[in-house]
Subunit: 489 residues, 2 copies
Amino acid sequence: MNQSLLQHFDILFNPHSVALIGASDKLGSWGAGILSRLLASSFPRRVYPINKNASEIRGLKAYESIAEVPDPVDFAVIAIPFPQIPTVMEECVGKGVKAALIISGGLAETNEEGVRIEKEIVEIASRGGIRFIGPNCMGHFDTSSDLSMVAFVGQVRKGPVGVIAQSGGYGGRIVLGGLDKGLGFSKFVSSGNEADLHLEDYLEYLAQDEATKVIALYIEGLREGRRFFQLAREITRKKPIVAMKAGKTATAARAAKSHAAALAGSEAIYDTLFRQSGVIRVEEDVELLDVTSALLDLPLPKGRRVGILAEGGGSSVVTTDVCELTGLEIAPLAPTTLEKLNSILPPYWPHGNPVDTTDAIVLGQQVIFPCLSALMEDENVDAIMLLGGIVKAADFPPLEKEHPLLREKMDKFIQGMEEEELRNIDVVAERMHQCQKPLIISRGINAAVRSSRVFNRLREKGIPVYPIPDRGAKVLAHLVRYSEYLRGE
Amino acid sequence: MNQSLLQHFDILFNPHSVALIGASDKLGSWGAGILSRLLASSFPRRVYPINKNASEIRGLKAYESIAEVPDPVDFAVIAIPFPQIPTVMEECVGKGVKAALIISGGLAETNEEGVRIEKEIVEIASRGGIRFIGPNCMGHFDTSSDLSMVAFVGQVRKGPVGVIAQSGGYGGRIVLGGLDKGLGFSKFVSSGNEADLHLEDYLEYLAQDEATKVIALYIEGLREGRRFFQLAREITRKKPIVAMKAGKTATAARAAKSHAAALAGSEAIYDTLFRQSGVIRVEEDVELLDVTSALLDLPLPKGRRVGILAEGGGSSVVTTDVCELTGLEIAPLAPTTLEKLNSILPPYWPHGNPVDTTDAIVLGQQVIFPCLSALMEDENVDAIMLLGGIVKAADFPPLEKEHPLLREKMDKFIQGMEEEELRNIDVVAERMHQCQKPLIISRGINAAVRSSRVFNRLREKGIPVYPIPDRGAKVLAHLVRYSEYLRGE
């Protein structure tokens, strides 16, 4: 990317000194929230609160204006009512600020006056060599430099996911949801009205950022569609881009305009744009996080033929439905696989894919992992969906009114089962990567499952567990299509 | 329903004495699991373990066959390999058993021999006046009589949901998922191959069961479509039926046949059948539980016009999308509502539906509940979707490295915010029922949210909170259509 822009980005994401214009100690306010984030950083960074009505905030000397700060300032955060922004931006130019973030709303997303003031701000910044994020946004963060302007998000786990969101709230959902799921993040930008820097600029920056391995986008409307297409086509060869595009219906598109001054554009155009540039389009944020995790943890499948292993017929039927309906194929099993399964399962198993273990498990037999291995080794199988049959310990109802001796025996039994599952998971995870066949699990998830050792081991090993098979099939279909795109199919 | 059938059902769901044929103390086996459930019951019920190779199981005297039991037995559970079932069924007839449950598989779902044996079992039972559940199923339970044959489910919360499932595994998912969600259950049947009793029989039984307020079905194939239609048309006038129908694709339908010997039938026919009889059709079990809860907790809306209140533009755009795409309408707000909202929100709010609170909340203003009231009072609004803006305390990142005094101030601030939300929720819940306008919330749900007082209060008050607006829109669309069906629209 352009060297001058890169320099501005380096300041935005890792400034030496920050002036917080609109710093406050009023709890719940944006100015107080950002100051908390700045003070929580482990990086030695000079922070200057700017506030006309205070001489000290949270133990730091406060200044009436940025002009009064005695040291150089390379980055300014602006969180004050919008009519005052042009004046403040002039002062930033005077001070030699290079990069800024404008949190405040009330500009181009509202009315003609807002449009006028926003233009004025852009002119002043542009004249003074300041590049800025926003306005009308919720800030950005960078976990490498431990910088965060995002007041409503606490300490963020470092990791490979970079996020650009044309809605701060939705961006926040993605980050908070991802943290809950165990994901880590590299950089985040809530791009707001994109008066100066556009989503496409951030995209170019994340493309060259080594900490970022997957790029997640929340889009309402692109300002530079052609540039996006060209960038995405290059980037998706190296790192996946997952995009949620909102504002599909006419009313929603109007709402997008009044919210982020974005033009939603035609849905068909977006579909084509994403498809032709290898961007993975998702419908909502849970799906976005599912796919993002899967891209980081799972191998890309070589084809779309799924082996389904289900503990119980209902699961096998439902999973077959969702797989076929998302465009996956039910793999025809090789004769050798059928033979192997014959030797594992009761004689009345359905002898085909989906592989229903019937009542083998009810009879207390350990069949899941042998069956999994058989499917893993089948050349006709590109990916595996496992339904139930795992995290078994969590399925044992607690013993009520039972004799202590039985309780002890039961505990031992369950523990043995758990140990065996843990060992098997380690083996399967390794085989999965060797064979390049993603394994996706679906099973009911309640509190007992969430807190179990087996569930956490699966998480560590990057084998996803979804409460409904539908989510697994969607993720798998995305991986398949992305893999096909990369192979030029 | 037919008095003789009703009598058989009363024995099935509340027997005086139970013979468990295939009782065992082998941990993990079905025979051991059912015995645990029987022993855990608080009801005084005679239990007779039947096992050729044991004289005592879990402290109870075991018998070689049911014929040897000295007292009368009205209900027999059969959990032994399928070839022995005809002989055992003859013995049950000889003993005067009135009702049975056959857990064992290996029958009509497998091959010609299985079909033959299953027919033989039906003939013997029919001749001897025994009605039975199964074979190839996972049992049934009744919380009123504290009877459970479902080995893999522990103590079940009593409540208004009755479940009939043509897959034991999927039925189990529904019950375990429901318990995790706070739902309670009346009766449950895993209907298996339905060699004797059909889903339609259970449906008729649940229809007249006073403890059952909503009926949830997992269907793979109906054996008596016309009867189902006639029953459903009557029942849905009084209590809602929610149905998940699997086996949509050809491969899945084949899997259904080999699993529960069910004929999946044409998708279009099922759609028409459900629509014309007022049955609410859902796609998967999470949706099934969402709708079931909502039917119990929320008032039915009078129309399909939704008021959207969103903390943040992204949420308002996404929610508008999902509402319109599920067939809901975005309500045109009344002029008086716009005036009220003008007095609550910053001047640059978008002045229409969806109502985006813009940065009002960022500025620390309490606007959500006043806005909610305004929407509740609008005659153009039939239902409300709230996005974010609530359970605020969970959104405050923990303070790191902060001064203890600030920490104390912060804690008080958050607690005050929480108290106010709790008070407001009580008011809103009451208004919701008075105005007959369901309120559905969507917001990110992480551990902090799940454990918060406000989240739990919402749950108590029956106001649903979903992690994505999509789930809320689907639920609302179901309520709207059911309400329209009942009004004859």
